[in-house]
């Protein structure tokens, strides 16, 4: 369904953010992309959704195809229309709009009124709480509810592939578990999911396959179950085990730089 091949992205012509990243999502799959801050996760999603240009980024190598059609150079609206919809990092719901209006904004890409009504029903069914609060301003929702709204808003466009950027960000563990269940449910209803996460545990529990990004490259990839049990993933999140601290201490003590600075005498 989605095929990213050897993708390279840079910002402002000089800063390489992604190099040679490949990832594929088949219909009905949940694929997780893990990585720490600055690893290039958001860049990958920007490339997929066509918003790189807003950040002065450009694709300089590789390709992205969705259902056989290239997505490169297409504008965000066309990509949404093709069935690829993103839930951005930090939710970014429209706080001053009501819940209902947020959903309406989510369905703005299509003109099919019947489909939109159906999509709204589905969203309200999945998140009954949103139905209760439909007339209230979205900013008044709790963090978890806002995340539900952000997902529901994206579902309004009836996506074939849903891109989720750190849906667990800043949420309580209980809510994160809930989000995980929601993702699984969406997937059961036939939507493929590409899940970008820092929360490795949740992502790996939901995903079938996963890749790990490190400074713009894929450093690990495989079945989610297997990745969950590796040292590397653990190290990435807790900094344990890999002996990094010793190396740093060694370097400092051996006086790598052998430079001196004394206090300023005034």
């Amino acid at each position: 369904m989605l095929a990213v091949n050897d993708l390279g992205v840079s910002y402002g012509g000089a800063v390489r953010a992604l190099r040679g990243v490949s990832v594929a999502v088949d219909g009905g799959e949940v694929v997780a992309v893990l990585g720490s801050n600055g690893a290039g996760k958001s860049t990958l999603l920007r490339a997929l959704s066509g918003t790189l240009r807003m950040h002065k980024g450009t694709v300089d190598s590789g390709g992205i195809t969705f259902d056989g059609h290239s997505l490169l150079g297409r504008d965000p609206a066309a990509i949404v229309a093709a069935g690829l919809v993103q839930v951005p990092e930090g939710r970014r719901i429209f706080g001053r709009l009501t819940v209902e209006e947020n959903l309406r904004a989510g369905g703005m890409g299509s003109r099919d009124k019947g489909a939109k009504a159906k999509a709204r029903e589905r969203v309200y069914e999945m998140f009954p709480l949103l139905a209760e609060r439909r007339a209230g301003r979205a900013v008044l929702l709790s963090g978890g509810e806002q995340q539900m709204l952000a997902i529901g808003r994206a579902l309004m466009a009836a996506p074939k592939l849903l891109l989720l950027d750190e849906p667990s960000l800043g949420l309580a563990p209980r809510v994160v578990t809930q989000i995980g269940e929601v993702i699984a449910e969406i997937n059961r209803q036939g939507t493929a999911v590409l899940l970008v996460e820092q929360n490795a545990a949740m992502a790996l529990a939901v995903a079938t396959r996963a890749i790990v990004l490190e400074v713009g490259r894929v450093s690990l990839s495989g079945e989610a179950q297997e990745l969950a049990s590796t040292d590397e993933v653990r190290h990435l999140y807790l900094g344990t085990g890999a002996g990094e601290e010793d190396r740093v201490q060694d370097m400092a003590q051996s006086g790598v730089a052998a430079k001196h600075l004394t206090r300023w005498a005034g």
């Binding site: 402002g12 000089a14 800063v15």
Partner: protein
């Protein structure tokens, strides 16, 4: 380069007619005014459209301090009759004081809100000049500016008569040198300032108010001082304008004049001494040049004949130039020189972004990020964490 230009300028009175010298004087005045505005907008990042007001304070301040009590028609004009040099200094200080008085407002407002609030000063100023301070300003009809003199040397046509290399040095020639000297001094001061502690503080203030505060810059104090110095520059420009016009009327100092000055610094280059001068010469001289040569330029007709007159042609050209520069040369004309001339050796092609803002220009992404973007935008939702 700058020295050569100064020498050329110094030789001009021997070659040019008084019309050109008069034009040159206005260009010098505008250069000083543009530097003042650039100090505020380009260097410190405080948008102001109140330039016309501070010009008026300088011009009228000079007329009032130097002028004598007279009666013209029904209106009794008051004046202090001070020596012109003293009057000029006082006028500059008065403009500085006006800037200082406005700075608390500036301290509270940001970006475009400050810009529009400063428009208020223009209209308030017009009202004061025409309706309230009539004995001091002469109201709608304005008042004369006393000829300048320094240590007994008069910048007038005679007294004493003066010939240099057989060229008669009248008022225009003398004022040309005064303008040139003041422009050079103003430029030097501005350049030095940019390279020293206060200049660094102002430029960081422009790029990131928070960062400069955290590094120890007293933000409010620096904004106030930027306003003070800027309005003194502009006040000095006002004095020179008054000397050039010999008679000042309130109409001159409207919003259009402020827009002209803003256009000067944007066209020339924000935050740049050379840019201020280039922009000032272009905007000031353009209408005068077109006027003079209107008969020689096709499509232009004499005033009042319905076609496109020279002053209109100048306005078109100038409007289009503003749009064009912003579209294609966001760093102003000086960025051209900079791009070809001064890439530091060994520096990579301009590319990496220092992004204190979420949006920077798309048309010219990286060459001059900070000059081009003196007001980093904050997130629209004002998210903070």
């Amino acid at each position: 380069m700058a020295v050569v230009l100064c020498l050329v300028a110094a030789a001009m009175p021997f070659y040019l007619s008084s019309f050109w010298l008069q034009t040159g004087l206005f260009c010098f005045a505008a250069s000083i005014g543009a530097m003042g505005l650039n100090l505020l907008v380009g260097t410190t990042g405080q948008l102001s459209l109140a330039n016309g007001f501070f010009l008026a304070v300088g011009a009228y301040g000079y007329c009032y301090f130097a002028g004598a009590r007279t009666t013209t028609g029904l209106l009794k004009l008051s004046g202090l009759g001070l020596p012109p040099a003293v009057a000029a200094v006082l006028a500059v200080l008065l403009a500085g004081l006006a800037g200082l008085l406005f700075s608390p407002i500036a301290g509270r407002l940001r970006g475009i809100y400050l810009g529009v609030a400063s428009i208020g000063l223009i209209f308030l100023g017009q009202h004061l000049l025409i309706n309230v301070l009539r004995p001091e300003t002469g109201g709608f009809n304005g008042r004369d500016a006393q000829p300048f003199s320094l240590f007994g040397f008069s910048f007038a046509d005679s007294n004493p008569d003066l010939f240099v290399l057989n060229v008669k040095f009248g008022a225009v020639e003398r004022l040309w040198y005064l303008g040139l000297a003041l422009t050079v001094l103003a430029g030097l001061y501005y350049r030095n300032l940019l390279r020293s502690r206060p200049g660094r503080a102002m430029q960081t203030l422009r790029d990131s108010e928070v960062a400069s505060a955290v590094m120890g810059v007293h933000v409010i104090q620096y904004k106030a001082r930027a306003f003070l110095v800027s309005s003194m520059y502009v006040g000095l420009a006002g004095v020179l304008l008054a000397l050039g016009f010999r008679h000042v009327v309130p109409d001159t100092f409207g919003l259009d004049l402020s827009a002209d000055y803003l256009a000067m610094i944007v066209l020339g280059g924000l935050g740049s001494v050379a840019g201020s001068i280039i922009g000032a010469f272009f905007i000031t001289a353009l209408p005068l040049v077109l006027q003079t040569y209107s008969s020689a330029i096709p499509f232009l007709s004499a005033p009042g004949q319905g076609g496109v007159g020279s002053s209109e042609a100048a306005r078109y050209l100038y409007g289009v130039a503003i749009v064009g520069v912003i579209l294609f040369m966001p760093g102003g004309v000086v960025s051209l020189f900079r791009r070809f001339g001064r890439r530091p050796p060994g520096a990579p092609a301009p590319g990496s972004t220092v992004s204190t803002s979420t949006r920077t220009s798309t048309s010219e992404p990286v060459a001059e990020p900070a000059t081009h973007n003196p007001h980093p935008r904050t997130d629209r939702q004002g998210r903070t964490a």
